[in-house]
Amino acid sequence: MRRRTAHVLTATALTAVAFAGPVAGAVAAAELGMPGFAPGDFAPLEVWPKSASPGVTVTVNTSACGPSGHAEGDATTVGGGRFKLLPGTRKEVVTGQFQVARDLRPGTYDIGATCANGKFASGDLVVTDRGPQGHVRTGVGGGTTTTTDPAKITAGAALLAAVAVGGTWLLRRRASGTRS
């Protein structure tokens, strides 16, 4: 609860700073004990997945921190706490993960990250209780074929005919009482 309040306060301060201009920003930042920054320092934070169900792990990345930078992420709005963003596969992009609380209500939540260089990145996370469910209709049957094998049918018919002839011959011999 305290963390959430702190986050809201920080966000409010940042917003106020954004409107007040660079000079006031530097003053406000100094008061907050944060590094100075200008209004243009708000950078986008990429959030994946675009819509998360409660309980899933979310990955965020941003190029706001510069080459080999790092950042502290804030996902307290969704019960994900604070997390580290470190250079990932590309040096200019920092990336980090957090888990969305299992009992979170659907809605749009703000996720933030503060770079070591003082820049701030934020992005929206849409939390939804609607994910894929049930089976997938990925076929109509055009790949199934009912094959007929004329060779098999002919062979089978010939065999049955031979059986009929042989059977008749056998019965006749027994009826006429012939013994070999």
């Binding site: 997945p49 990345n61 990925t138 790949g143």
Partner: protein, 211 residues
């Protein structure tokens, strides 16, 4: 005595020949050939899950996938984004293109932590489609997913299952995962001309490499 047994022997031979003849005619006149189904040996088990955890590697950041490649069944297909239908089921790629597969665009991106979902048709009205041979995959097979950021996520199959449409295990297939996993889904599990495919073939894989 010899004669009687000879007659009985010939009778048996005729009966056997009759059976073979009936079988030949029967099987020759109506054999339904469909897409391959996985053997029970490829099923999900506690062991397959554990063994694969050991091979987990660092996940990739989020980036949408662009192509799926499954060398062992000669799949190399572009990916389109899929949403959800009104009933909550996953959309399917447009039926016009038989070489196209899709990924659940609101979900985890393949290579990132979580469960990414890819689906494709097993067939179309006129013949096999992109995932026709999915049911023939075995444990250990490789699935590669190329992404928009230029990276490729390499997954290793740890199970291939068939689920009945009436009892589809949502949480097992779509549920969250603490590591980077992938599901590849197509239709399967028997076909009836009246009701269509009875279920889905689902391939379970986990991240084992990136480049």
């Amino acid at each position: 005595m010899v004669g009687t047994s000879g007659v009985a022997g010939r009778g048996g031979l005729l009966a056997l020949a009759a059976c073979v003849g009936i079988w030949l005619v029967g099987s020759g006149s109506g054999e339904r050939v469909g897409p391959p189904l996985p053997s029970p040996a490829e099923a999900l088990s506690a062991l397959s899950g554990q063994a694969s955890y050991a091979g987990s590697i660092a996940p990739l950041p989020g980036s949408p996938p662009t192509r799926i490649r499954i060398p062992s069944i000669r799949v190399d297909a572009p990916l389109t984004g899929l949403g959800l239908q009104a009933d909550g089921s996953l959309e399917v790629p447009p039926p016009g293109r038989r070489d196209l597969a899709g990924w659940y665009r609101d979900g985890t991106t393949p290579g990132a932590i979580g469960t990414a979902v890819i689906a494709g048709h097993v067939d179309h009205a006129t013949g096999p489609a992109v995932f026709y041979h999915l049911g023939a995959l075995r444990r250990g097979a490789t699935i590669e997913v190329a992404r928009a950021d230029g990276r490729t996520a390499v997954f290793t199959v740890h199970a291939v299952e068939v689920y009945d449409a009436k009892a589809f295990p949502d949480s097992r297939v779509y549920g969250p995962s603490p590591r980077a996993e992938l599901r590849v889904i197509t239709c399967g599990g028997g076909f009836s001309p009246r009701t269509g495919y009875e279920g889905n073939v689902v391939v379970f894989a986990h991240l084992t490499g990136t480049y």
